[in-house]
């Protein structure tokens, strides 16, 4: 009798434990506003992945997979995309998700004041409600990255009713249709989400609550995981990887990022370019690149937790241009190039961030380039200031990372297109623009690979950006956590996660 009671009590305890389970995630930063139209940070996207479903998603191999849209079809002229929507989906306020909601959302993304999605959806000229569950996006010109754009914040759908009711402060209390609904946010402390009972894929959701806690210091984030206050942390410091591997109760996952770390060189943004041999002469830039050993840089600056690379996508990416492989370090050739350029000891200033990682990278680059005769002066600059200096062209070389997009266009267009907002090098070439536009207008991946190969060869000649490596997204978690999916965008998919 007694034993039975104990067993029953134990079972009841176990049941209640599994009934009210919270997934506690440690973030590296405090997210910005939680409105998909206005949001602009990587860390915010991690929260959105649990909160707001998108029209489509990407998988581990960067294929486009259904989410709120179940199928899609391009028109013959590639100027419209018709999407069939998932039936039976509701927003967290109970409102129905349908074609009218999609039209509202795309229009909201395009028109709301301060929208960060407007540029991404620029080619979308109008949205037609074909029927209740079918929507058509009409484009001003064919735009191959559209589906990957819709797999990110531009494809996130919010409740039209809630957005209209609270237009000025929607981001303070977002209402979407994802697996978890918004409960509370205490700035810099915690974001709490609660399981949405009417979620269309609720069979795959095994937690009742998720809390996101921003903990800036990587050591403290890890300490919280080790002491059991967190179940999952993102962006583990590469230097902590060895210790985590020794820890029996912790798991570690790594994914090569979609973005890159590189050095942008001012080749035409301002008169700084012509005043410095590095900005003036492509031979000097080639020598600079040849003085660098990317594998060595990764080892020292990133504790080996990155993949060396020389393009806007990593060598493992389907769109990597194989005709432009990573050059081997060649100090002798670098010296010769400098001699030919008439500047055996060129000097330039390398603007870099103030974090210890950025400093380490700059110092390794400085030491390696010195072997070829370069005198690199490191200028550590706080981020907001460096961005401003880069924008004004008041720099010679700038260490700048990009978080990356699923389509190579997102890593390319704004950086190498003429007068584009992220083109800090100032390099402006009509044939590059023509190739970039052609890659956007071509839907066939094989054709696009050819275009990117030509572009890579062209850009390699000028080197406005010297790409160095692609960092690993490093996650550490309680080993009891299973069902983790490592998608290269670095976001945490809660579907299927279990503990």
């Amino acid at each position: 009798m007694n034993r039975k009671f104990v067993m029953a009590f134990g079972l009841a305890l176990a049941a209640s434990a599994s009934m009210a389970q919270t997934l506690r995630i440690g973030l590296a930063e405090d997210p910005d506003v939680l409105d998909p139209s206005l949001a602009r940070s990587f860390v915010g996207r991690i929260v959105f992945a649990s909160l707001c479903d998108k029209l489509v998603d990407i998988d581990e191999k960067l294929n486009i997979v259904p989410q709120l849209a179940t199928s899609w079809q391009w028109s013959a002229d590639n100027k419209s995309l018709t999407m069939k929507l998932r039936p039976g989906v509701t927003f967290h306020d109970g409102e129905k998700f349908d074609a009218a909601a999609v039209k509202f959302n795309i229009e909201r993304h395009k028109t709301i004041a301060g929208s960060n999605r407007r540029g991404e959806l620029l080619p979308v000229s109008s949205v037609d409600v074909v029927d209740d569950m079918t929507v058509r996006l009409n484009l001003s010109a064919p735009f191959s990255p559209l589906l990957t754009v819709l797999a990110d914040r531009a494809g996130m759908m919010v409740s039209p009713k809630a957005a209209q009711a609270n237009p000025a402060n929607f981001g303070a209390k977002p209402v979407c249709s994802g697996p978890f609904k918004f409960v509370q946010r205490i700035a810099q402390d915690k974001i709490t989400l609660e399981r949405y009972d009417n979620y269309w894929d609720k069979a795959n959701i095994h937690f009742d609550k998720i809390t996101f806690q921003p903990i800036v210091d990587a050591t403290v984030r890890l300490a919280n995981l080790k002491s059991g206050q967190l179940d999952f942390i993102e962006r583990v410091a590469p230097s902590d990887v060895a210790a985590i591997k020794k820890e029996g109760k912790l798991g570690l996952a790594r994914i090569t990022e979609l973005g890159y770390q590189g050095i942008t060189i001012n080749t035409g943004k301002s008169d700084f370019a012509q005043k410095n041999p590095l900005g003036r002469d492509p031979r000097v830039r080639e020598a600079f690149e040849l003085s660098l050993d990317r594998a060595g840089i990764v080892k020292v600056a990133m504790d080996g937790e990155a993949e060396p690379g020389n393009q806007w996508v990593s060598p493992g990416n389907a769109f990597y241009a194989k005709n432009v492989p990573i050059p081997k370090r060649d100090v002798a050739r670098a010296k010769q190039l400098l001699k030919e350029a008439g500047v055996p000891n060129p000097s330039f200033t390398l603007m870099t961030g103030t974090t210890s990682d950025a400093q380490r990278l700059a110092q390794v680059v400085q030491a390696m380039a010195k072997d070829a005769g370069f005198d690199v002066k490191i200028q550590s600059t706080e981020f907001a200031t460096s961005l401003n200096l880069a924008d004004k062209g008041q720099f010679e070389a700038y260490v700048l990372a990009w978080s990356g997009r699923a389509d190579p266009d997102g890593n390319l267009f704004s950086f190498h297109g003429c007068k584009q907002p992220l083109n800090y090098s100032g390099e402006c070439r009509a044939n590059w623009d023509e190739l970039l536009n052609r890659s956007r207008a071509t839907l066939d991946p094989k054709e696009r690979i050819k275009i990117f190969a030509t572009l890579a060869a062209e850009i390699e000649k000028e080197r406005p950006i010297i790409y160095l490596y692609h960092r690993n997204w490093l996650w550490a978690f309680n080993k009891k956590l299973t069902g983790m999916r490592t998608v290269p965008d670095g976001l945490i998919r809660v579907q299927g996660l279990k503990m």
Binding site: P31, A113, G114
Partner: protein
Amino acid sequence: MTQYLAKRLAAILPTIFFVTVIIFTLQQLLPGDAATIMAGEDQDPNVIAYLRQKLHLDEPIPVRYGYWIWGVLHGDLGESLRIQEPVLGLILQKLPVTLELAAMAMLIALVIGIPAGIVSAIGKDSVWDYAANVVALWGLSTPNFWLGILMILLFSVQLGWLPASGYVSPFEDLGGNLAAMIMPAFVLGNAIAALLMRHTRSAMLQVLNADYVRTARAKGLDERTVVLKHALRNALTPIITLGALEFGTLLSGAVLTEQVFSIPGFGKLIVDAVFNRDYAVVQGVVLFTSTVYIVLNLLADLAYFLVNPRLRA
């Protein structure tokens, strides 16, 4: 007394006005452009233009100051552009956290610092004096963030006694709240304790040699009464000033400690706001804390009256 009080009160308003001008101007002098940093990774020119207009960045600084001060006078400190929350709400959200942390740290500092200072003054050049000095020197020279991380490693990771970081509201769980606050409060209190100890010691040494103390002893009073009632009371004046100033500093946020322990107080709020050029938040918080600072100073001055009868004359 009334006249003195009136004079001090009258001086507050121009001081606060001057503070608002300084806060505003200094912030505008920060390098970097609020609109560019707010626009995020993509740097969409339309977004930047929109933010410029919204933040009045195209207008001259005095006009921008006018917009801000007009709002402040109407009780509107503006809104955080980064997270779409009103600044006043953020301040009221963080204030209890920072107050609690500051009060706990101050308590720890007082409990350790003043007795240690008295003991080392009485037993000047004794073992106790040297021991207290060594501890004080250690407290003063230990960086907060380092001590914080070491404590986390010991008490949370190794021993598992305390949560590594984070904050729990005392209304939700008082035990959890104290467990979360004790380490950061100790880290902060530790440095102030050392400071208080040094000042108590030197103030006590001065008064212990004063004539009236000798008289008190000559009257045959026991040493306890001499030290605690006659000497300490006089020695307290500079310590109160120091305590109030330190408390004011604590209220304006213990940046590093809050960062290490992820305590969502003023320090974290303002650091994030500065790095993100969230002007309204920086201005609101600095205005608030400097006003508190000024008021605390006034209260410290008033406290002199209570402990020092000579000023009351």
